[in-house]
Amino acid sequence: MRLLTGNDLKTGAVTWWTGKDWSIHIEEAVDVSGNEDEIARREEAARRVNVPYAVDAEMHDGSPRPSHIKERVRALGPTVRPDLTLKPADPEIGNWVI
């Protein structure tokens, strides 16, 4: 599957295309295979996202998980600061990244 990601223009936060909008939670991302260029163009023009691009992913425990570690770190936050990740209370979240 392919996910569309980018950064929020104002905050720089990593965001994922949910089919309707953008979310910081990758669990809400949807497969955009075949439509990524069109969605990216439209959303960037509307300034709802900054520098969007598509990444490969697979389903993992019912949620999408990017194929490359760099995108997994982007999706979660720095592995060395679990308190700053999106799931600070999950002690096992590092395993999702690595």
């Binding site: 905050t11 990593v14 194929s67 570690i69 770190v73 592995t79 700053l84």
Partner: protein
């Protein structure tokens, strides 16, 4: 310390307002990202892995307490309560919002700071010896000359669009504490037999994907021709440096391809031409700057005795203080490398404390080291115990300067969009491993440097032990290098062989230190033993 005059302040204030307008237009959609990106980069604003990242220039690593407090306030107000001190004596904030960026620059301008030329193909922040003005072995304080170059290079119209970024370091002692020969231009201020000061120019060094040690192209340029000679070096590069391939665009490639002799010939020719043009700033301007760097008014009766009855304190004194030119004083290094910590990170609270301690104990001065620690340059020996006590209570008292725990690590894949592998977790695990085994002290000086990609922000080529993170089919892998140095005995490290995974690289580092312990002779550092016995004993231990 240098203080802005009305022109400095007006330039920086104007730049803030210019950027405020640019950011507003971007947010309103009047600028595309392609149009805005070079504008934000000129103001140090990157888009990194998790958010915008702002890199703030700290000229030659020198700060006063007011500036450090301001950096802490920015961390608290606009970021997530911390900052990261970098290998170029700057600070980076990792969680910046575009809509706040102009306000941050305005806050910086109030304390005579900015983020100009911390990115882009221009002359970057000038770096220097972090013990400048305090070091017992310097021939002169190099910072006024670094400041002169900072002023010359700021907004220089001819050098704002170079083939590639350009880094200059200025030192003034035989000991190289600034990786001088691994810069595009390294300047070592020296004294000749007649007692005159001049600048030895080393040009074409650098790390990155093609590491090179800068050759000396002129051993003695009179200091009243310093800027002119720099301009000649830059002009030849700007004219002939490659713009068709960013990987071959640094000056080191030009010097290498032309040959140092031919490059020097061209520089000398240009220099002769420029001397006729009168580009050197007026001598009065240099003297104005020099007067701002007057030595602190140290107490000439300050005692040299230190009460060493507390062994933890005595260890910190032995490892983290350095000889000062004034009797009764030392330079004290605040380690930002607690065991298991993130090299170079400091919380806002820690920054405020370091600022307060600088005010109380170090003539209101701090320095950022390229090794990602902080220096209080002028501390009375009699004040050391009180200083150490305050640092230790704040987690800043690690006694590990220049040991295997004092690891340089770039942000790596945890923060950087260019990285291929994480650097920080490797640094954390190595420092924990050596702290557990208790070998940190017995290994002596051992400089370990980790980069998360070939760009080498973690200076892995220059580590006694270097580690380079690479991406091997989507999996982090770590190459081990041995034998580098960025000091006066400069050398480039060599790769041992096949790389290791995360666990394997930590074990590999321990293995090579075991070889060192077995083979070392009296007084030898790790790198000395490596140079004497060569790579093979280490390879045999690593790979069998």
């Amino acid at each position: 310390m240098y203080k802005y005059d009305q022109y400095d302040q007006a330039m920086v204030d104007a730049r803030v307002e210019e950027f405020r307008d640019q950011a507003r237009r971007r947010l309103e959609g009047k600028l595309t990202e392609d149009q805005f990106k070079p504008l934000r980069l000129m103001n140090g604003l990157y888009l990194q892995l998790h958010a915008y990242m702002l890199r703030v220039a700290i000229p030659y690593g020198t700060l006063d307490s007011r500036q450090m407090h301001a950096l802490a306030d920015i961390a608290d107000k606009y970021d997530r309560g911390y900052g990261h001190f970098t290998t170029r004596q700057n600070i980076q904030y990792n969680w910046i919002r575009l809509e706040d960026a102009a306000d941050i620059l305005a806050d910086l301008a109030k304390v005579e700071m900015h983020a100009i030329q911390t990115s882009g193909n221009c002359i970057r922040n000038i770096s220097s010896d972090h013990f400048a003005g305090a070091a017992a072995d310097e021939v002169v304080d190099p910072r006024p000359y670094a400041e002169l170059l900072r002023q010359w290079s700021s907004f220089h119209p001819e050098f704002s669009y170079l083939p590639r970024k350009f880094k200059i370091a200025v030192i003034a002692s035989e000991k190289d504490r600034a990786a001088m020969r691994l810069h595009d231009i390294g300047i070592n201020i020296v004294k000749n037999d007649a007692g005159e000061l001049g600048a030895a120019f080393y040009v074409g060094g650098g790390m990155g994907r093609t590491p090179m040690i800068a050759p000396c192209i002129n051993p003695f340029v009179p200091l009243d021709q310093l800027v002119t000679y720099c301009e000649a070096c830059l002009r030849v590069y700007n004219r002939y440096g490659r713009r068709d391939n960013k990987y071959k665009a640094r000056i080191k490639i030009l010097v290498h391809e032309l040959g140092a002799e031919e490059y020097t010939r061209q520089v000398e020719e240009e220099f002769a031409h420029l001397l006729e043009q009168g580009v050197e700033p007026p001598h009065d301007e240099l003297m104005r700057i020099i007067r701002m760097f007057e030595a602190p008014n140290t107490d000439q009766t300050a005692p040299n005795d230190i009460d060493r009855s507390d062994p933890d304190f005595a260890l910190w004194v032995d490892r983290n203080t350095v000889a000062h030119k004034a009797s009764g004083y030392v330079s004290a290094v605040i380690s930002l490398k607690p065991v298991g910590g993130i090299p170079g990170d400091a919380t806002a609270k820690q920054m405020h404390l370091m600022a307060d301690l600088a005010k109380e104990y170090s003539f209101d001065e701090l320095r950022v080291m390229h090794t990602q620690n902080i220096v209080l340059p002028h501390v009375r020996k009699a004040d050391l115990h009180a200083l150490w006590t305050a640092l230790d209570e704040a987690g800043l008292g690690s006694p590990n300067l220049d040991t295997v725990e004092d690891i340089i690590a770039c942000p790596g894949l945890d923060y950087c969009s260019l990285a291929n592998a994480r650097s920080i977790p490797i640094a954390q695990r190595i420092s924990e491993r050596f702290a557990e085994t208790g070998k940190t002290g017995t290994l002596g000086e051992l400089k370990l440097k980790i980069s998360g990609c070939i760009n080498a922000c973690g200076h892995h080529h220059a580590g006694h032990i270097g580690i380079l993170g690479v991406d091997r089919k989507g999996v982090e892998n770590y190459q081990l290098l041995l034998g580098g140095s960025e000091a006066e005995d400069v050398s480039l490290a060599k790769i041992t062989g096949p790389g290791f995974d995360e666990n394997g690289i930590v074990n590999a580092v321990e293995t090579v230190t075991t070889v060192y312990e077995r083979e070392r002779q009296d007084g030898e550092r790790f790198v000395d033993t490596y140079r004497r016995i060569g790579m093979n004993p280490f390879k045999e231990a690593l790979y069998g």
